[in-house]
């Protein structure tokens, strides 16, 4: 009964709902919460939770929910998680705060992928669910929208610091989402009539004075021209101080940032860069691809023509070679659990190592001294060994590691210098990747 995490899926956009109504339990908790779960069960076709998590994980069932909420209850709160074991992925939490905390429900839903909500029926069911909830549990503001778009829009801070955010909350209409519930305060601030005359797919006054505004029948196409126009119209209407064209332009810019970009990476670096891209947050992914399409690795400079190689200056070359081999072994020791392929010492191992160091933000997250004194020599030696083993290279030992060379074809390479340049920053891991040096050396093997 393993739950499928939204983080298990490849990085792509999801639908996010935040619903935190005030809630003070006067009667039996169970009866007051029944409507919530009834609506959830009724309207969640296609993404219905099947497991719940309190102290233990249980199959979804009303009785299990009450049990879990009871188990998790502390002095002033309780919460449970609701998940799915199959695609699409769901991350839902349902919490309750009791006095002396401001009593409220805390509901969070993320459904991935957002493309699930390209169907009108599924979307309208979702709207129906939120409408029901908002009717039973009065909320000051609730919203459902693309997670990526929310993040690009600067939600939830909208330019404010955390202190202001927590103090003021969503105190004016910073953004119009696909689905919005505006509580009485916001309605009053805008003017009820104006609110009710919002140009949108659906505008509905709820019995408790809140207003439900849904911009379009579906959410998955939120970045389309029509959707952006609808979003801008509604926003400019609710915020007469904003200029429609400016709002629309901003929305189009966001759409542009999210528009799929075809990867056209440097062929030698496709295996590395595609993994780099996969690590980007979904809302940054397309921009990252565009960036890397435009980026071209600088030609490696850590070489000399074979004719001007530094002659060996050590008394005991065998000992130096053993030393390099030992150092290279250090890298294997360092990486093998995370990057098992380092045992093979192939060009692919170099790519795996490149990715590992990049992913770990190694130059930034490790002590500089440890890097300079231990990682750099180990990486340099390993790079040298890979050149020797795979390209028929030959070490030319020197007393100083930085002067040690590997002769491949008509060039001598300085692997330790490369390693030093490589470890300067996270960007230099890409600019001076081991993979890239290897490929260039391979081409000049002659």
């Amino acid at each position: 009964m393993k739950a499928l995490s939204v983080h298990d899926l490849k990085p792509e956009d999801s639908l996010l709902l935040i619903f935190d109504p005030a809630f003070e339990s006067k009667a039996a908790l169970k009866s007051e919460l029944e409507p919530f779960f009834q609506a959830l069960e009724k309207y969640s076709d296609g993404w219905m939770p099947d497991v719940i998590e309190g102290k233990r994980r249980r199959k979804y069932a009303r009785a299990a929910i009450w049990k879990a909420l009871e188990e998790e209850r502390d002095e002033n709160s309780t919460s449970i998680g609701l998940y799915r074991t199959e695609w699409p992925a769901l991350d839902m939490s349902f919490g309750l705060w009791f006095p002396p905390l401001p009593p409220r429900l805390r509901v969070f839903i993320e459904i991935k992928p957002v493309s699930l909500f390209s169907e009108t029926t599924r979307c309208s069911q979702f709207v129906e669910m939120v409408r029901t909830w908002a009717s039973s549990y009065p909320v000051s503001h609730a919203m459902a929208h693309s997670t990526d778009d929310l993040n690009l829009a600067g939600s939830p801070n909208f330019g404010r610091d955390d202190e202001t955010l927590f103090r003021d909350g969503f105190d004016k209409i910073y953004m119009v989402c696909w689905l919005n519930v505006f509580g009485p305060k916001l309605v009053e601030a805008v003017g009820r009539e104006r609110m009710l005359s919002t140009p949108a797919h659906r505008v509905e006054e709820l019995p408790n004075g809140s207003v439900l505004v849904v911009t379009r029948p579906t959410v998955a196409d939120f970045a389309s021209k029509e959707a952006r126009r609808a979003q801008a119209l509604a926003h400019a209407h609710l915020r007469p101080d904003l200029d429609f064209d400016t709002v629309l332009r901003t929305l189009h810019e966001r759409s542009a940032m999210l528009a799929p970009v075809e990867p056209r990476f440097h062929p030698d670096l496709v295996p590395l860069l595609s993994r780099v891209v996969d690590r980007a947050a979904s809302h940054e992914r397309q921009r990252r691809i565009a960036e890397l399409n435009a980026w071209c690795p600088p030609e490696p400079e850590e070489w000399r023509p074979a004719g001007s190689a530094l002659p060996p200056d050590v008394d005991n070359p065998q000992r130096s070679l053993e030393h390099y081999s030992n150092l290279a072994e250090h890298l294997v020791a360092l990486l093998h659990s995370e990057v098992p392929s380092v045992f093979k010492a192939t060009p692919e191992s170099l790519t795996d190592a490149d990715f590992y160091f990049w992913r770990e933000e190694f130059p930034k997250s490790r002590l500089r001294e440890a890097i300079d004194e231990h990682a750099v020599p180990a990486i340099g030696a390993y790079l040298g060994e890979v050149l020797v083993r795979n390209l028929g290279g030959r070490w030319i030992p020197r007393q100083r590691l930085e002067e040690a060379q590997v002769l491949v074809g008509n060039r001598v390479w300085f692997p330790f210098v490369r390693a030093r340049n490589y470890m300067r920053s996270r960007q230099s891991l890409l600019d001076c990747s081991l993979t890239w040096l290897y490929r260039v050396a391979e081409r000049h093997r002659g």
Partner: protein, 778 residues
């Protein structure tokens, strides 16, 4: 039990201190340094066994080692009486001449005194040294020195052999307690020491002679002692000295020397006759009248003895009074000196025995006291600290003022503590013991460390006592502490890899062969308070928290799975932490045996994971501390974190105690140092966490953050009992300090959730659930 353990550690370190504090010099290349050391060795046949080993550092060190260790030619006897004019050289010259020390090494010895020469901030009197003046006057400038390094430097400015010749025996012995002697003066010094040993019993009585003999042993290096024994034997006085002065023999034996074996068989009868005669003299001299005369003669010396030796003497006298036949019992009294409070022999610390107590009770956190033996070494390496301190105090004249009274004691203690922390950070107690042995082994080692401070001590350790090999290592021996990357790169860096490493280290077989310090050492960074002590305490806490798979708390099962150093599982092969894991496993095993363990051992994979995160966490913490330090320096309005303070004072890794949680180290405490206008002094605590929050579900994220915040509040929030004495003066006497705010800072970057809505919800929930804690994400 603890006390015993301590005692033995002290014992192991004692000699090192005394000796190394005693001496300092590097003779100029042409006549001193290695050449003379080699000569000194060559006069003593059995010394061959101690020839420097060259196993370390195949690439870098070998050339230099060869040069230093093997190119030395035996010098001539004329050295003994060679005269040399004052050279007016500073410590740089001393170092450089001693072995082509790299520039970086010279630089690391600290500021060079400009003309005119001075010591401890006091200018040397004009005209000094006037060899016709009294020994007191000749010695005086040395007595103002605040470290062996300064003593070493001052020696370079004078004709040491001539100066030594002008000193009486006792003054020479005193000089020997201040710092290592310059090599060309060493033999003369040992002559004078020998002479004092030979005549002390007759001149001052056996009891007083015993204390002098112990002081001599304590302030001499191993090579000095061999020389002294040789000289005594040559004069046919060795056996007699051993007989008359049992404390002398005991002290030598504790240093691992077997003086009795040197007594020449052939001359035995003759010696016995002589010895008996002298014993007779001594007995005679024990008559009250003679006693008074001896005491009278000893009186000025007595007042100049370091306090511990004076105390020991008093103790011996009391015993003698209580028990008329206590003649031989004096040994036990000196035992106490030798192995009890070795700090004292160093004169400037000796002036403030109360200071030692102060160190004990204050300056260091309770948990840090364990490392007290390191203080011993700090004396050796204290040079830089003292200098730094003198400089740091700023205003002109402060240094002079510092030299006297409580302030001086405080200043020295702070400097010593600092060095102690540095050393303690990078090696375990066995390592310290070994290091002590390396330093006391030779004058050359003593000089190297006196001039180079803690860095040199570590390099020496790294080179397993081989000074020649240690030189090139010196600039890199202590990662992190200097805050600057190694001056040399390339081969040097590669070779230094064994010193202390995180990323990758020697394969187990090499490591086993070399007995290098643990890899934890690489995580130490005193600049942000990450001493070894703190690192270990934090690792222990992290270990308890670790969720990886464990073996059960069952002795039988643990025994069955006990890892072996030589046979790591394939996945651990070549891993630098395998040895560390073994130590961890065995330690936990013992705890389980004693029923003290709360959890079984982590399996290897879990331990590796834990260590990875731990290292990352410390790196983050270090960055944050630096960020805060920078923030504190900004004008108040521009500060990002510390805007609520007028004058923020940052203290890292402060030991704090709260009921129920015991002693913890708060990552950073910020304390208002400015005016507090009657209200309580503002105090905030920072706690830093590297935790991967990126893959958590919404609920798990909330739960985790709330849990971390609660823990931070519980450990560092509300009301603290601050254990650091240097801070306690800022607060009411009971040490109870209200903390206005606790800030929990998470590492950002790839560790933070990509969706800010999710993150801010968790932060808000935490704010609600755990008031008093503010959560920040980098």
């Amino acid at each position: 039990m603890r006390a015993e353990a301590w005692a033995s550690r002290w014992a192991a370190l004692l000699g090192a201190v005394l000796l190394s504090t005693g001496c300092v010099t590097l003779g100029p290349r042409q006549g001193g340094g290695a050449a003379q050391a080699a000569h000194a060795l060559s006069t003593l046949p059995e010394v061959g066994a101690t020839a420097p080993s060259l196993e370390a550092s195949p690439l870098v060190a070998s050339t230099e080692a060869d040069k230093h260790a093997f190119s030395a030619e035996p010098g001539g006897q004329e050295r003994l009486h060679r005269r040399r004019s004052a050279r007016g050289l500073g410590p740089d010259a001393a170092l450089a001449s001693a072995g082509e020390a790299p520039a970086s090494e010279v630089a690391s010895t600290g500021p060079v005194p400009e003309e005119p020469p001075s010591c401890g901030g006091q200018a040397v009197p004009p005209g000094w040294p006037d060899f016709s003046s009294s020994p007191e006057e000749l010695l005086a400038p040395f007595l103002t020195c605040t470290s062996p390094g300064e003593v070493l430097a001052l020696q370079q400015r004078v004709d040491m052999p001539r100066l030594l010749e002008a000193l009486d025996d006792w003054s020479a012995v005193r000089l020997g307690t201040l710092g290592p002697p310059r090599e060309d003066a060493a033999r003369l010094l040992n002559d004078k020491r020998t002479s004092l040993l030979e005549k002390a019993a007759g001149a001052y009585g056996r009891r007083n002679a015993q204390v002098l003999s112990v002081l001599i042993v304590d302030s001499a290096y191993d090579d000095d002692l061999r020389e002294i024994l040789f000289l005594l034997a040559q004069d046919k006085r060795l056996e007699e000295a051993l007989k008359l002065l049992p404390a002398f023999q005991a002290a030598l034996e504790k240093r691992g020397l077997k003086p009795a074996a040197r007594v020449e068989r052939g001359s035995r009868l003759e010696q016995m006759a002589r010895g008996l005669r002298r014993l007779g003299e001594d007995t005679l001299s024990s008559s009250p009248a003679a006693l008074d005369g001896q005491e009278f003669a000893f009186h000025p010396i007595r007042g100049q003895l370091p306090p511990e030796y004076q105390e020991a003497l008093e103790k011996a006298e009391k015993e003698w009074v209580l028990n008329a036949s206590a003649d031989d019992m004096a040994v036990s009294a000196f035992d106490h000196v030798t192995f009890g409070v070795p700090l004292g022999s160093y004169h400037f610390v000796a002036t403030s025995l109360h200071g030692v107590g102060l160190l004990w009770n204050g300056e260091m956190e309770e948990g840090t006291r364990e490392a007290a033996p390191v203080l011993v070494l700090a004396l050796v390496g204290g040079y830089k600290g003292v200098r730094y301190l003198a400089k740091g105090e700023g205003a002109a004249g402060v240094r002079l003022r510092l030299r006297t009274g409580a302030e001086a004691a405080q200043a020295r203690l702070r400097a010593l503590t600092e060095t102690a922390r540095q050393l303690q950070g990078v090696m375990n107690l066995q390592g310290l013991r070994d290091l002590a042995g390396y330093i006391r082994a030779s004058r050359e080692a003593g000089r190297f460390v006196a001039a180079g401070g803690a860095d040199a001590a570590l390099a020496l350790y790294e080179a397993r006592g081989n000074v020649a090999s240690a030189r090139p290592l010196m600039s890199k021996a202590r990662p992190g502490a200097s805050g600057s990357p190694p001056a040399k790169s390339g081969a040097g860096a590669g070779e230094a890899a064994g010193a202390a490493d995180e990323a990758a280290r020697l394969s187990p077989r090499t490591a086993a062969a070399r007995e290098r310090p643990g890899t934890l050492a690489s995580l130490v960074d005193e600049g942000v308070g990450h001493t070894r002590e703190v690192v270990e305490a934090k690792l222990a806490a992290a270990e308890l928290e670790a969720t990886g798979p464990r073996l059960p708390k069952d002795v039988a099962i643990l025994e069955k799975h006990r890892p072996s150093l030589d046979a790591p599982p394939p996945e651990a092969r070549g891993n630098p932490r395998w040895r560390e894991y073994m130590e961890y496993y065995n330690e936990r095993f013992r705890e389980v045996e004693q029923g003290k363990a709360s959890k079984g051992t982590l399996k290897w994979e879990g331990y590796e994971k834990l260590r990875g995160w731990f290292a990352r966490g410390l790196a983050f913490e270090r960055d944050m501390v630096k960020l805060l330090q920078e923030d504190a320096l900004k004008p108040r309005a521009e500060r990002l974190f510390l805007g609520d303070f007028d004058r923020p004072r940052l203290e890292t890794q402060v030991g704090v105690r709260k009921p129920g949680t015991g002693l913890r180290f708060a990552d950073v405490l910020v304390i208002e140092e400015g005016g507090i206008g009657g209200g309580p002094r503002r105090v905030e605590a920072f706690s830093f966490k590297s935790r991967d929050l990126s893959g958590l579900s919404e609920r798990a994220l909330n739960t985790q953050m709330i849990e971390d915040a609660r823990e931070a509040l519980q450990k560092y929030g509300e009301t603290l009992d601050i254990r650091r004495d240097s801070l306690q003066s800022l607060f009411p006497e009971d040490g109870k300090v209200p903390v206005q705010r606790v800030r929990l800072v998470y590492e950002g970057g790839k560790l933070k959730p990509t969706d800010l809505n999710r993150l801010k919800r968790a932060v808000e929930a935490t704010k609600g659930k755990v008031p008093g804690v503010e959560v920040l994400v980098e």
